[in-house]
Structures are given as C-alpha cells and as structure tokens.
Subunit: 452 residues, 2 copies
C-alpha cells in the first residue's frame, strides 16, 4: 500500500516536472536554434507583399510548401481555394480644394481593400464629417451627393487595442454601404490606429447586398485631424478623389498544410496556423508573416526535439484572411466534409510582439484546464489565459465543436503597423518572434499530452 500511495503522489509531481523540463527545452531551442526570423526575412524581403491572387501570394505558397517539406513534415500539400483578386492600380489621390483660394492639399491616402475605384475621372464633391455609422443614419438624405468622412477614433483608454479597433473598424467595414444607401458619392475613413502620424492604413470593406457600391479610401490620422479642422473652418469644403482599384473576379489559390502524423491517435487533429496573404502596402511582417513562421516552427521544434505528437498536428498557412477569409472557410468545409475530428486549433494573427497569453473559446471545463496550465508559462512572462476569443481563420471550425485559441502578444504597438507600408521585417524583433513560437509550441505540446 505504501508503494501505491507513493506512486499516487508521485505521478502528478513527475508529470509536472516533466512538462516543466520539456517546456524549458522548447523555449531554449527557440531562443538558440530558431529559424523563424530568417524565414520571415525571406518571406518579407524576397517575396514581399502577398495580396490574395497575386504572383507573390503564389510564391509564398510554394515557399512555405518547400520549407515544411525540408523540415521533414510527414506530408505537405496544397488545399485549393478560390480567392477574390482585388488590385489597387495606380496611386490614389485625395485632394482637398479650398473653395476660396482654390489652393489644394493632398491627403495621405490609400484605397480600402475590395473597394471599387472612381476611375480616371475621379469624384469631386463636398465633404461631410461624421463620427459614426449612427450619425450617417441620422443625417440620411443630407449626405446625397457628398463625400462622407468617417472620423471616429479608436478609444486610446482601452488597454487592449484590439478592443478599441473592434469598435472603430465598423466604419471601415460598413461605412461605404451605409453612406451609399443615402446617395453619398464616396467615403473617406480615418485610419485605424491610436497614433497620430502620416501613415494611411488600408483594410477590407464589405459591400452589403443590394446597396449601392461607392469608392472608399482611408487617410492618415494626422490628415484626418487636419481635415476635421479645415471642415470646421471653411464651409462647403470639397475633395477630389481618384482611385483605380478594382475587383478582378476570382482566381485559384491554396491553403498550405503540413502534417506531422500522430503516434497514437492519428485521426484526431490539432491545428496551428496563421495567414499567408497580406495587404499590398508593406511586407505583411506582423500581419501575418510572423504568425506563419511561428506556426511552422511549432512543427519543426516538436520534430527536432523528438516530441512527435500523439495526435496529428496540422500546420496551416491560410490564404485570403485579409479580404475574404476564403482559406479559413475552405479548411472548415473540407474538415466537415471528411468528418475529421479536430480537438483544438490555435492561431496567431495579432502580431509578433512578446507573447503575453492566449484567448480561447470552448467549454468552461476546457477553458479551466487551459488556465490551470498558467504556472507552466509564467517563467516566460506569459500570464493571461482569461480572455475569450479566437482567430479569424479558425473561427469557421466553431460549429464542429473545436476548442479555439489565439495567441495574444502584447497589443500596444500592433496598430502602429497594421495594414500599412510600415509593416516590414525590420519592425519584428527576433527574440519576441522566437518567444512567440516557443509559447505556441508549448501550448500545442500540453494540449497533445493532456487532452482537453
């Protein structure tokens, strides 16, 4: 009996100590032998921006396919998916015209993704400032023939910047349709950032069915503040807007899937991933090249440390998160069609800043289990396990009862770069990227070992 009692006491202790040691091994490996940073450099500098349907997106598909194959993943394959091909065309113009002096002033601007263009003749109209979609609906027909300037700000007092983004971004997503239904000619949106600077942020809009489609651009926050002052100072201020973007139908693209076959229950799946497409303005470094490269490192780390998972691990490079989510939807559709059993999916699409925790969506029991692992992560400064949330690409898996998670990096600086020309390789820190990869690998390891 004494031996049995001892064994009972020893088992959990031993397990914990073993997990602690393995997790330290994973972090040490990333901090000394990671390839994430150099792989991200290649993706950003040799391939560059990867808008869905572009040749660069195709290059990224082939690059990551080869990369996972070279690391000894058991299978690497492409999952076909049709994606929208939106093209920007030549540089946009948003020109303020002073009706008294006839002087002009160019705003730092960028067309919103999925927007129609004005074409070469442009749009010239009086500009009306609003701070929300609610205000547009109050103004109604007064907006007919006008350019509507959405100047609602992200709330700087929200510590989680993603929450501030979530409240403000509806202007960018639906502002064009909402203004278009009252006969507005075009829409200008304040860029989605807390910073005051001269960098315009693109991002997708969604045209609502059966509503008029009008062109939309974003302008920098600095210019948004200046424009707002000018509107207050001068009646009937006009803007000339010219954009050449257009949607060119759909083209064939792919999710890239690398598998490490499970040793015990190969028919049960764990997913880890990010999205391979990006906007066309920068290099998609934080959004979401880093997420892709960290996800690949999860597989590479487990393989190279001899930690082959019990369940089958799928590392997925999702296509078309930015302006369609077609890759995420296709993955879920195929999983359902094949009746695959997914235990959990983990996404990284909030930048490659220092990891601070995980948000999740699942049962209370599952979330409590994840939270009980917090002590394993605290030595690595990862402390937040309470937030509810999932990544966009894995969210279509929700109805298949999959536990969904997103890694949460420090959110303070993400919207300095998001969807801009400033989202380049140089603004990703090597060490923070490696800590992120290790944090994801440790979580996948624990889920695989302990179940949910």
């Amino acid at each position: 009996m004494r031996t049995l009692l001892l064994a009972l006491f020893l088992v959990p202790l031993t397990l914990t100590a073993q997990h602690e040691a393995t997790i330290k091994q994973i972090y040490d490996y990333q901090l000394t032998q990671s390839e994430a940073y150099e792989n991200l450099r290649y993706l950003c500098k040799q391939i560059g921006p990867r808008l869905s349907g572009s040749p660069q997106a195709a290059a990224a598909v082939e690059y990551t396919r080869q990369l996972m194959a070279s690391y000894g993943f058991d299978t690497v394959y492409l999952q076909p998916v049709m994606v929208p091909k939106w093209v920007r065309g030549q540089q946009e113009i948003a020109r303020v015209i002073n009706s008294q002096t006839h002087g002009t002033w160019e705003l730092s601007t960028t067309a919103l993704g999925n927007s129609i263009g004005t074409g070469p003749d442009g749009v010239l109209a009086e500009v009306v400032e609003v701070s929300s979609i609610e205000e547009v609906n109050r103004l109604g027909k007064k907006l007919e023939g006008k350019i509507v300037f959405y100047n609602g700000k992200m709330d700087p007092t929200k510590i989680n910047t993603f929450s501030a983004y979530g409240s403000a971004v509806v202007q960018r997503a639906y502002g064009a349709s909402e203004a278009g239904k009252f006969g507005a000619k075009a829409v200008i949106v304040r860029s989605m950032t807390n910073r005051i600077d001269d960098i315009p942020h693109t991002g997708s809009l969604v045209y609502k069915p059966l509503m008029p489609r009008i062109p939309a651009v974003a302008i920098s926050t600095q210019d948004a503040d200046a424009l707002s002052k000018q509107i207050a100072a001068q009646k009937e201020l006009k803007i000339y807007m010219e954009t050449h973007c257009k949607m060119e139908g759909e083209v064939l693209s792919y999710n890239v899937i690398g598998e490490i076959t499970g040793t015990e229950t190969p028919d049960e799946y764990l997913v880890v991933g990010g999205h391979l497409d990006s906007w066309d303005l920068g290099e998609g470094a934080h959004d979401d090249g880093g997420g892709c490269m960290m996800s690949i490192e999860v597989g590479r780390t487990l393989l190279n440390l001899g930690l082959r998972p019990k369940r089958t691990l799928r590392v997925v490079m999702f296509m078309n998160e930015e302006n369609g989510l077609r890759g995420g939807e296709k993955y879920a559709e195929m999983a359902k069609a094949k009746g695959e059993k997914h235990l959990a999916a983990l996404e990284s699409d909030s930048g490659s800043f220092g990891p601070m925790g995980f948000s999740s969506m699942g049962t209370d029991k599952q979330r409590k289990k994840i939270q009980s692992w917090a002590p394993y992560f605290r030595p690595y400064h990862v402390w937040s396990f309470e937030n509810i949330g999932s990544g966009a690409d894995i969210s279509p898996l929700e109805d298949q009862v999959v536990f969904l998670m997103e890694m949460e990096p420090n959110p303070q600086k993400y919207f300095n770069y998001h969807h801009t020309a400033a989202d380049v390789f140089e603004v990703v820190d090597k060490r923070e990227l490696e800590l992120g990869a290790a944090t994801m690998a440790a979580m996948i390891y624990l889920i695989d070992q302990e179940g949910l």
Copy 2:
C-alpha cells in the same frame, strides 16, 4: 449596530472601488493627456546625449528644473554633486591585421566609459580570446604584452535579459583590471546584447585600486563572432587599437529635485526618479530619458487630477548613474545628514517598454502588501510583483530602511539599444511610455494612500 456592521463591510469595498476608479483615472489621463512623449522628444532631439560633466548634461538639468516648475511643483531645486568628467575624444580604431597578407579589417568599436586612452601612438599586439575572467586568471602571465578579447556571451535562454546581462557584464566592468594585472596591454569586450549586429555597446569599467590601468573598448557582436573565427583560423593575429578618451577630473553638476508637499505628513518622503545623464553615443532615450520623463509625469498627473499626496513626493533626476553613481550617493548622503524619513523610493531605469511589474526590496510584510495590490494593475497588463531588486540610483538609500522599488518593463528589447548610438527617441513607443508613467503614478498613489 446594523449601521456599524454595514460600515465595517463597506469600508474596504469602498476603498477598493475608489482605488480602482482613481487608478483608471490615472491611466486614462496618461493615455490622453500625457506630455511625457513630447518632453522626451525635446530631451533627446534638442539636448541630445548627456554624459556627466558635459554641457548637454547641464542643459538637461536646467530643462527639467524649468519643466517641473512650469507644472506647479511646490519646490524645484538643484542638489550639487561633483561628478567625474570622462571624454571620448576622436573616433576609436580597432584594426585587425592579417600577419600573412598584411590586409587590415576595421572592427565596429567604442571605448568603454572611464577607460584611459591609448593615445595617438595606439597599441599593437597579438590578440588572445577568453570567455571569462576565470579564464584570464588561469592564463595568467601568458597574457603579458597581449590584447585580451573577452568574448563571453549573454545567455539567450534567460528570459529576464537583465539577469543575462548581470552575468556577462563583469567582463566589461572588471576585465581591464583583471587582464592588466598580468601585464596585458589592452582589452576588447564583446558588446552586451543578445543580438548579432554591427552596433558596439559602451558602458563603464571600474579600475580596481592598485592594479595597472589599461585601455578598453567594446566591439559589436557581429565583429566579435568574426574576430573569434579569425583567431581560430590564424595564429598570432594582431590588432592595432587607438583610443583618445580620458578622465578630466571632477566637475560640479546637480541632481534635480521637484517636490510636491504632503498634505498630512510633509516630513515623510516618497521618491520617484530616473537618471538624467546618459552615454554619449545615442540620445539616452530608453536609458534613461524615458525614466526621467515618466517620473515627472507622476508628479504632474497627481497634481492635475487633484490627487495631492499625503506625504511629500520628491521627483528626482539623478546625475551620473552611468559612470559613477555620484547623484544617487549624494541624495542618500544628504537624506541621512538631514535625518529625513523616507518611506519608499521607486526608480525607472530599465527602459520605456510596456510595463509588466515591479521588483522590490524591503520587509516580507511590505513586499506582501505590494503584491496584494496586483489586482489593481492586472487590467493594465501589469502582473509581476515577485522579483527582488532595486534601481541603482536609489540603492544607496537601503541602509536608511527605505522600501526600494524598480518598475519592470518588458525586458526583451532593452539590450538592442542599451549604451549605443541606436538608443534614440524613435525607438520609444508613445503609448508604452504613457503606460509606464501611469503605472508608476498608480503605485505611488497606492503607497501614499495605504502606507507600507
């Protein structure tokens, strides 16, 4: 009785709710009305590097004196302190000479602070690589006439980079004396950073009494790796080193002290501060301009929100932390001489990255009290209250039984910039700086309200 019982239950609840509300007010104020970022811009861009004894250090004294006076601090005064004046002179040379081809190769180098110079004739000698002071002591007299190259690395697997720095920096601090005692001619030190790049990091050395003083420089990590390979490949590799730095005695400088007089116990003091001097290579933005500007914001925030403290708050800009600690020592000396009672001192000298917690030194009871406040800070992503430690400038107060604290920002990126030409205004994030100022202000508020 019922009223009394209710009151008993209500008091702690009300206090907690009031503290929560006040702390939110403090964070909101910083995130919307902080002047820390623009003040730091002035300090970095209009004044620049502020080596002790330099005209720029004097400018920084006058600037911060005026700044605190303009904010309505009750008293702002200068505390005289003699500081060493070390000057770099013209650009250093560290030139590798290939004994076979006679080809040369320039290393990215910078003299260490407080080092003597080689003078215009320079030093030419064979270079010997070591990885620690222990190895120097093993080699002993074999180092006579040689240039000793300390190539010990910071341990990348330590999550707290300050801990990795602490282990490696003894080479920089004492390496010259330790090699000098065996007759070495000069010392080269690998820069103190986990990054592999081309930026040399300066920092102070300390010549031990009665030991020979020899010149010392740091080289970039990239060049340290390359030099190490070259030493392995070629026997009797020589280096020509030329430095023009020298110590020019002592000059008068100042700590700058801004006081907000306590409303209840004005003879009891709380200190918050950073150091005003910096190295000469960059702009001293993270080290420690940010710490100074956050500290001033602590006072400004409490004044402008009507949160005048019960105890007297001293905001202190310490002089000469980098190569002498004279300011910190003078402050403690004067406090002792005047018999002043200090309850607590809080320093920020670990950069202006996103705040994650506080280290502290005091009684168990005091530390437990601080830790019990963790829930107030968690909404702001500040979670770490366990580490033991203090800032350098306030550490001389220890023997006066003062509770010592240092704010702990995220430590991952500090040694990308520390003591280099890259520590400029642009690498400080506005929002992270503001969160740091709010975090310090909230802690000072709690200590003042609740005692220790």
